[in-house]
């Protein structure tokens, strides 16, 4: 059984944010393809609670580093990765782990762990390196500057991030990208081929009939139809909500609501922009809070449509995959479906609806609530399934191993 070490800049025991979910999906896909996978997270202790840590994780403890990372939040990952690469204890631990686990492939999510890994790799090794890109990180940082995250060293950090990404992309034996557009961009800058592996959602394999019916019951009790929005309180999600609905939710009738799941709900509710139109906004929303994995599908599939109003910021965009996987009509911004090219191409106007202006977005939402819109077809849902990811991963990883063996011969 081929052996893979999955190196991530976060723990994987309880995946929450998009990056973690993507990495967890990769792990599940590898296992589905018959690989043995060990996950190793390399992160700062204060960023994730101990109950989320895995047994092989390498956890850095440093109040100074924590302060530094918070002070320069846009480049917190770079600061942690640099500190880890400089810390001999971290490098030694990683090196001994590699020796002990003897992986055929080291799969790295995000470019950050490459810094300590570069130090820990034996000088001569036959381990194949896979770089899995979830964003082109350097270009994703610039929009964060307008949210007040720019510091005196930001431009320098941006250049360093770019160098790091390009170096790793050139060094790795296989480069994966979560986005078709970014795959082409990495190919252009590094002059090497990049494999596009679309985001997936475990909801794609769920069936409405097996799902609990809590949310549809809630909607009936409240005598309303609802639009589902599930996201974290990550700043671009909050900004996306308010730039899509800048004038409040008065376009909805009394019995039409937007239900917000995840930490986004509280962040939106507490935002002054929500308070400006509080009367109408409160009557047109419901803050659902954290939705357990088991209820996610119920939440999304009971809605009249699922919306993904993200206008900037990077990320794994797992929200879009979940939305498509729910089978309900997906109303999203151009930015939200960016990177899903081959998947949404055929579904545009037939399950996936793109709107980039508040007016167009509102019109689609009303249409879904009042007249109904067709949802995503099973073949579209299938493209964001774990099975598809596993099949694609196996194809490329096995090819990588074959190449290793033929080189050895």
């Amino acid at each position: 059984m081929p052996n893979c070490l999955l190196l991530t800049p976060f723990p994987l025991a309880k995946p929450k944010h998009g990056g973690q979910v993507r990495a967890a999906s990769m792990m599940a896909a590898m296992r589905m393809a018959g690989w043995h996978v060990d996950g190793v997270g390399l992160f700062l202790s204060t960023f994730y609670p101990p109950e989320e840590w895995g047994p092989l994780d390498i956890v850095l403890e440093s109040p100074e580093l924590h302060a530094k990372a918070l002070a320069d939040a846009a480049f917190a990952d770079v600061h942690v990765a640099r500190a880890a690469a400089r810390d001999t204890a971290v490098v030694d631990t990683l090196r001994s782990l590699i020796c002990r686990l003897a992986p055929d492939v080291i799969h790295v999510e995000h470019p950050w762990p490459w810094l300590p890994l570069r130090e820990a790799l034996p000088s001569s090794h036959k381990i194949r390196l896979v770089y899995s890109s979830q964003n082109i990180e350097w270009s994703a940082r610039r929009p964060l500057f307008r949210l007040g995250m720019k510091t005196a060293t930001s431009e320098e950090m941006l250049a360093a991030t770019r160098l790091l990404e390009e170096e790793f992309a050139r060094t790795a034996d296989l480069v994966l990208s979560i986005s078709d557009i970014e795959a082409a961009e990495i190919e252009r800058t590094t002059e090497r081929s990049v494999v596009y592996l679309a985001p997936v959602s475990d909801l794609a394999s769920r069936d409405r009939q097996d799902s609990p019916l809590r949310f549809i019951g809630d909607a009936r009790t409240a005598a309303c139809r609802y639009v589902a929005l599930m996201a974290s309180d990550w700043l671009p999600n909050v900004e996306g909500f308010f730039s899509t609905f800048p004038d409040g939710l008065g376009f909805l009738a009394q019995d039409e609501q937007i239900w917000l799941a995840g930490t986004l709900g509280a962040a939106v509710r507490d935002d002054p922009r929500f308070q400006t139109f509080l009367g109408i906004n409160k009557s047109r929303t419901r803050i659902v809070g954290f939705v357990e994995d088991g209820e996610k599908f119920d939440f999304l599939s009971s809605a009249e449509c699922v919306i993904v109003p993200v206008t900037f910021g990077a990320g794994a965009k797992m929200k879009t995959a979940d939305a498509i996987a729910s089978g309900r009509p997906v109303i999203a911004t151009e930015h939200a479906v960016e990177g899903y090219g081959p998947i949404v191409q055929g579904a545009l106007g037939k399950g996936v609806y793109v709107a980039d202006t508040p007016r167009a977005f509102r019109r689609l939402v009303r249409q879904a609530l009042r007249d109904g819109l067709p949802g995503c077809a099973p073949e579209v849902r299938a493209q964001v399934s774990l099975e598809t990811l596993s099949k694609n991963w196996a194809h490329h990883a096995n090819h990588l191993l074959d190449r290793t063996q033929s080189t050895a011969h």
Partner: protein, 563 residues
């Protein structure tokens, strides 16, 4: 079921002839049975009853006028309802409320009429009488109507208090205490200190009370919500909960029938349950007709007493639910479309019509009463609630400048007519502390309509420097009496004055100063402006009410056509 149906009982003589309606009598009748080709129309009289026989201002005046006119339209069966906070629904009026409403709408000026026939004590003043008969009569009516409505007012006030934020409450309380317990230079030191201590103690107590009240209200809401969520989540998951039946009507709620028309012209944002309003429109098939006075809160959110979202919700809900909206000016209609319609993709059927000059149209009925303190004095009037939006501040600065420039005998008295509103800390400072201006400033509250007419007739000219208006009735009223008015250049005021009068930016003090100086010292300028004022036509008395009537009849026609 008891409620009043006016149409079958009224003897309104001139409603459709263009003049003001004659006084009518009314008796309670059986439930509304519309004559053929007519429809049942229900009028929300909550605010009219709330204000009683006090001299009506703003919205209440418009409501009373529309109710009076519609009551005389034969093809409409007009009945009155009241929104009852305790059941969160409309209900029929009780006999005492009916009687009270009857007095308010149709017997307001009866005493005046009687007084008019008695010999005047001041024969040199045409139509003016120093005896305020109207006020005497109001006192009588008030005494008769004392009781439950007052208790409901306190309940409403408590509800509002519980809802407002700590900061807003503190601001309102502070303002009220400053007004009730003023600290003046002429007071002794001990009195000033004692007043301040008392003020602070009351402020602290008030805030404590507000905290308890708001927590109590919040806990009640939370408990209610928790109970609801609990009931919902404990439903068996494998079985779809039964679709909830539309909520049962509260006991005592008025049973609307399909096709009934509900007219609500009041400040319903203060009391309406929009869930209920949606239900009666969507489920019971009620056709809602309402009025848009303005959307100034959207335009200037810093000028309203409560947060903008309260009004915003009202306007949005109307956009969703109303069969037709009548705006009081073209500017109000366009502002509604711009600030509410477009951002919310709402395009309700709308029209606009100008408000009549109530005082002028009913001047014979109302009569005239002099304001003794202004007799034989030159004065300039600004009639409006004293609030931030109305820009009294500009006038007070202006008058101080004029005081320095013009001799005391020539400078007219600036008369501010209206009650104190909100956001007026600066106006209070400017008016209270500037003792030099005291001889040339009067702030008059609680004047009768008869006194107002006297003021309009006898003023040198009037002013209206408001930052924004939905129409600017006081400017139009002034012109109707032939008295010129200098206005701010906001579109509604230009409409109200038919573009005849000088208009300046409300922040342009130098130009206002120049215009005031001209009109005060140069009599030919004033005479020429009076000539222009004489060209004013004004809206026909029934125009606005008939716009509401037409909306009712059109919706009736539409309903018949659809059927």
């Amino acid at each position: 079921m008891t409620f009043i149906s006016y149409a079958q009982n009224l003897e309104l003589a001139s409603a459709r002839t263009g003049g003001a309606p004659a006084i009518a009598t009314l008796a309670p009748t059986a439930p509304c049975v519309p004559p053929p080709d007519s429809c049942c129309v229900y009028f929300d009289a909550s605010l009219i009853l709330h204000f009683g026989c006090n001299p009506p201002t703003g919205i209440v005046r418009v409501e009373q006028y529309v109710a009076q006119i519609l009551a005389g339209v034969a093809s409409i069966s007009l009945s009155f309802l009241l929104f009852d906070q305790s059941i969160k629904a409309y209900r029929a009026l009780r006999p005492d409320e009916r009687a009270r409403l009857n007095d308010i709408l149709f017997h307001r000026y009866e005493a005046r009429k009687a007084a008019k026939n008695s010999p005047s004590e001041h024969p040199h003043i045409i139509k003016a009488s120093p005896v305020d008969a109207e006020k005497l009569r109001i006192v009588e009516v008030r005494a008769a109507a004392r009781g439950k409505p007052a208790r409901r007012n306190i309940f409403l006030k408590l509800l509002t208090t519980a809802r407002i934020t700590r900061e807003v409450f503190a601001a309102v309380l502070s303002e009220r205490l400053t007004r009730l317990l003023p600290v003046r230079q002429e007071h002794s030191l001990m009195r000033r200190v004692a007043t301040r201590i008392l003020r602070r103690s009351l402020f602290a107590t008030g805030r404590g009370g507000h905290f308890i009240l708001s927590r109590l209200a919040s806990s009640t809401r939370t408990l209610f919500n928790l109970a609801r969520v609990d009931a919902a989540t404990h439903a068996p998951r494998t079985v779809l909960p039964r679709p909830t039946r539309p909520e049962a009507k509260p006991i005592g709620a008025f049973p609307f029938a399909q096709g009934d028309v509900l007219i609500t012209m009041a400040n319903t944002w203060d009391y309406m349950d929009y869930g209920y309003l949606t239900r009666i429109v969507r489920r019971d098939g009620v056709r809602l007709i309402s009025v848009i006075y303005d959307v100034i809160a959207m335009e200037m959110p810093f000028t309203t007493p409560v947060p903008v979202h309260v009004y915003h919700r009202h306007w949005v809900e109307l956009g969703h639910l109303a069969t037709h909206l009548v705006a009081i000016s073209r500017h109000s209609l366009q502002s509604y479309q711009h600030f509410i319609g477009e951002p919310n993709d709402l395009a309700p059927s709308m029209s606009y019509s100008y408000l009549p000059n109530f005082l002028y149209e009913r001047r014979h009925e109302i009569g005239e009463t002099i304001v003794p303190s202004l007799l034989d004095r030159r004065f300039v009037v600004f009639c409006s609630t004293i609030e931030a939006r109305k820009n009294h501040q500009l006038l007070l600065h202006l008058w101080e400048r004029l005081r320095q420039e013009i001799d005391s005998a020539t400078l007219p008295i600036l008369v501010l007519v209206g009650s104190w509103g909100w956001g007026v800390e600066n106006v209070r400072l400017l008016s209270d502390r500037n003792w030099r201006l005291r001889d040339h400033l009067r702030i008059l509250d609680g004047l009768s309509d008869a006194q107002l007419i006297w003021l309009y007739r006898n003023a040198c000219f009037t002013v209206f420097p408001s930052h924004s208006e939905g129409f600017g009735l006081a400017a139009a009223e002034s012109l109707s009496f032939g008295t010129p008015v200098v206005v701010a250049n906001c579109p509604a005021l230009i409409e109200a004055t038919e573009g005849l009068m000088p208009a300046y930016d409300p922040l342009d003090l130098p130009n206002w100063l120049a215009e005031m100086r001209r009109l005060i010292v140069d009599s030919s300028s004033l005479t020429s402006l009076r000539r222009k004022a004489a060209q004013y036509k004004g809206a026909h008395y029934t125009d606005f009410a008939y716009a509401v009537r037409d909306a009712i009849l059109a919706s009736n026609q539409h309903r018949k056509a659809s059927a």
